[in-house]
Symmetry: C2
Subunit: 218 residues, 2 copies
DNA sequence: CCGAATCCGCAGTGATACTG
DNA sequence: CAGTATCACTGCGGATTCGG
């Protein structure tokens, strides 16, 4: 269970010894969105072997990145959450995700989209400099995934599930979600074309789709 | 040679498929400092098996992150360099390195320090907001490693080897380099104590050590 | 059902030797 | 110098099983 070292006294090497193992940063990504139970994590990480998930969680816990919380009765559920140290990975993960998002082309057969990865997609492509004076709540729906994004005071707040308050605009993706979203965010597809082609169905003020495209941009 | 996929349509997953394999980001780290030859890379990555280095370079090349350049005669040397896409990893790598640097404590037995990792250490801990009005060149020496850092116009320029122009301050670390540097950068050790204890020998204007400590900070 | 532990086949890694 | 070749080993993927 001891982590393989890189033999260098170096910050990057240390970081990779902790979060460089396979699946580790994806676990962190999900936990950055919200604390999750073992089964939730397993569900959000397609194909991760249960022994690997279990091993990673223990390693991350021992490294002080993840905390194992036992919820009180009657739930008695186990919940994994990031420590403060773990949350400090936020920026680095966002930048890596942003770099990777720029290389996303078509989804490969069998690839899924999870709520957590969509939240990361929004957060990693949010352009703060375009958010001045904007105050809007969006709700995004795709493939049974529902999440929301609220921009106010130059800050972005995101979450999984329906928007806590009535959204100004609901964006429903069709037929299978994220590719049209990615096309919008990368500028390959104009908002008008997206609506005209039926890839996006709007509920609410139509001009806010353009605002969305200006704010979230690969 | 096929890269194992994560089964998610997600920027982070894509990024990790490219640079998430073992040793990959450390190779990128070295190439972010300067193009390197195969043997240089092998030297700067303690213990990397040659077949793994070779495999990673091919994978990174195929992914468009690394470029293999054949220098013209008479050298005929092979040099690996980052593509523009590869250089775009800079910020993400710096942030990961910064996160890891905060968890560096004592060096472990046998761990080495390379010029490239020291350059990354400086770049990842540079606090731009403290650099206004500063215009200084430092030269750092430790264990035969020599590098320089120049701060001017709020920007940091670093390089391996002696400073191109006469440095304002030469900092020589003793007896074995980086731990005193890390102690300085983390605030565990005051500049005065570092000099008094003989961990740092100065050549130049002594007050610039304090400036250094203010500029490079974990 | 949740939260794993266990087992097995195999691919990726580590160490060393070797070559154009 | 710039890699390939070989081989032992270990971590991963996949499936099943198990206790609370």
């Amino acid at each position: 269970m001891r982590q393989r070292a890189f033999g260098q006294y170096c910050g990057l090497a240390r970081a990779l010894e902790v979060v460089g193992e396979r699946w580790a940063l994806l676990i962190v990504r999900d936990l950055l969105v919200r604390p999750r139970r073992y089964t939730d994590l397993h569900e959000g990480l397609p194909g991760i072997p249960t022994n690997v998930l279990s091993t990673r969680l223990k390693e991350l816990e021992r490294a002080g990145v993840v905390e194992r919380r036992l919820l009180p009765a009657p739930d008695r559920a186990v919940v994994y959450a990031l420590t403060e140290d773990g949350r400090a990975l936020d920026e680095a993960v966002l930048l890596l995700a942003r770099w990777g998002a720029a290389r996303l082309d078509e989804p490969r057969p069998g690839e899924i989209v999870t709520p957590d990865s969509l939240v990361m997609a929004l957060r990693s492509t949010f352009r703060r400099e375009a958010a001045a004076g904007v105050s809007v709540t969006w709700e995004l729906r795709a493939d049974g995934v529902v999440l929301y994004a609220r921009v106010a005071n130059g800050e972005l707040h995101t979450g999984v599930g329906p928007a806590p308050e009535k959204p100004d605009l609901v964006i429903a993706m069709a037929p299978t979600g994220p590719p049209p979203l990615r096309a919008l965010m990368s500028g390959e597809l104009s908002p008008q074309a997206a609506v005209a082609d039926g890839l996006v169905q709007l509920a609410g003020r139509p001009k806010l789709l353009t605002t969305f495209v200006q704010l979230f941009r690969i």
